[in-house]
Symmetry: C2
Subunit: 369 residues, 2 copies
Amino acid sequence: MATIRDVAREAGVSIATVSRVFNQTALVTEATAQHVRAVAARMDYWPNSAARSLITHRTHAIGVLLPDLYGEFFSEVIRGIDLAARREKYQVLVSSSRASAETIVAAVRALRGRIDGLIVMAPDADATTAIREFATRFPVVLLNPGSMGEDCSAISIANFEGAYAAVKHLVGLGHRRIAMLTGPSGNLDAEERRGGYRRALADAGLEHDPALELAGDFDESAGFHAAADLMKLRPRPTAVFSANDYMAIGLIGALRNADVRVPQDVAIVGFDDIAIAQYLNPALTTVRVDACELGERALQRLMPFARARRPAEPHRELLPTSLVVRGSCGTPQAEGAARHAFRPRHRTSGAAHHTTEHAANGHDGPAAG
Amino acid sequence: MATIRDVAREAGVSIATVSRVFNQTALVTEATAQHVRAVAARMDYWPNSAARSLITHRTHAIGVLLPDLYGEFFSEVIRGIDLAARREKYQVLVSSSRASAETIVAAVRALRGRIDGLIVMAPDADATTAIREFATRFPVVLLNPGSMGEDCSAISIANFEGAYAAVKHLVGLGHRRIAMLTGPSGNLDAEERRGGYRRALADAGLEHDPALELAGDFDESAGFHAAADLMKLRPRPTAVFSANDYMAIGLIGALRNADVRVPQDVAIVGFDDIAIAQYLNPALTTVRVDACELGERALQRLMPFARARRPAEPHRELLPTSLVVRGSCGTPQAEGAARHAFRPRHRTSGAAHHTTEHAANGHDGPAAG
DNA sequence: TTGTAAGCGTTATCAG
DNA sequence: CTGATAACGCTTACAA
């Protein structure tokens, strides 16, 4: 591999000149510049990034730290990050780690010196404390819920608002006894979604019944097994808000086995709008989260600090969600007419459905608090 | 950030000794080693990877080059790579590029000097030529079909064998008129799957009818629109093998709209076993591809060459596929009893279904040719 | 506008 | 077993 010396010698100039040509710094005569470029191209020369970053203290790479098993949601986030990074001419280093604080620290250490900034996705409350300390010394953006009032930069999903809108929609359809399938305790997204559920019930003047909150863990099997508990409730709920789509899918499956009709007997709403949602039968009404955009925003937020090599300023941003109404929640008018014609999805546009966006201060959401 | 000099001074040893402690090279007295480690820990020192790789010519990172829009399949591949890389204490640099040879070269150039090896996923035939040349000078593993006889290292999916098994299964169920929804022309996976289809028909003594091959492009909408053409065929096919799951989904949706029953009127088999497949109603019979394992294998294959910094030896490996029989293809005995009870999936184990593996030389597959 | 030379933080090669 | 010291390939004052 040719080095800057080889090119300099071959082109009959000094290495400084070659360096200047490649960095568009200090004016170089267009003639020499062209000559140098030609020689470099012929020799297939490209600056060694290690040597470069040794002296500039910049790697032109950002790290992405994810939870261990990343599914559909996280891969979309990465895609968004990658998209934005490409525009910035930055590389993306992905790394996964178990959520425990210990392994997160190890992962960060392994990344040290290789990246100019870091995006961390850690949905658990305890795992983020280690990161926060690190964030005071290094450019970090958290993709985390519940970061308000903290002195770090974080982008989170409008979980509360999304859940509120979903439950409000069910109330609007006439439901009065609405159960919720909650997420794992300690998961902040899950907590916020429960908060939105409770608030929507309260605002509708419905009293809070703890028995209606069924414990879940975001896994399909949790939804599957919750069905039995659900059917035991008296009076039986007429609607269920599930903290995520996977559990809603498990629930629908179990209900089908039990010959309970969705949405006629029980209306169901999920959260996330994973790709599967629109293909279920009935198609799942759910709260859409644009994971790709989440990733893009995170990178854009991080970039200036990564470039400046200084910790990100405290900041909190909320990614809006939107309610996607499909068949699983039924309609107020015609209970029996829940069958919707299937439409193929188009890559560029959204799916065929009614959608309502819920921003941080959306007019449809609850008052801030 | 403390450097090796700071640690050496503080510990009262030379920088060479500190270096040795961190590299477990040349014996160092356990006493001094411990002392140095203690001082380093206290100063929060960690070797600068840029400086290190400048002299060792090793980055301890491998690059992954993917197609532009990566979906479910590719994210699973990345996960497999990440999993294996973590075991090897290697970092993963992801980078996407359009399939065109031009942008692939640009992407490779941007990665140069940052990685010890490269994994490339490019399903199109023409895009890989640029890479092949690069692979003669640098450790590269291709995740590509149709690489036989080429002088590079490649792992591919048993497309032919999987398709053969799928169609053979339909034949076994009694189907004699079996259509196929093909993938985009130029896509090698798609070509191989069509090859398996044709061979299975031939081996069953069924004559090849070109009208039965419906053109598709791997998108759901292609499946959706193919339904109309399918219904026009006389006599109407009783089964359809779709080159991927997405198209099968579109097809099922269109058939439902047309009140054609699956599997009673038309049996359907897909390819890939994407996560959605098991939740469809009826659940989709499909050919399972373990994308995660594909990624793991690629990394394992690449590692020794990346470590040795020399081009990978020519090699071809086939990732076996397996037929996953679910509701959409029906059963020979009871046509009406196609309704299967829903079972929640467990993360660690496979879904509840019958499965048959088809390796490169599986006894269920066709003779090599 | 161009060249010279001093590092950047390591590892590797020698002596000791 | 340990310590000087020369690379590694580049950027960047400072000189010319």
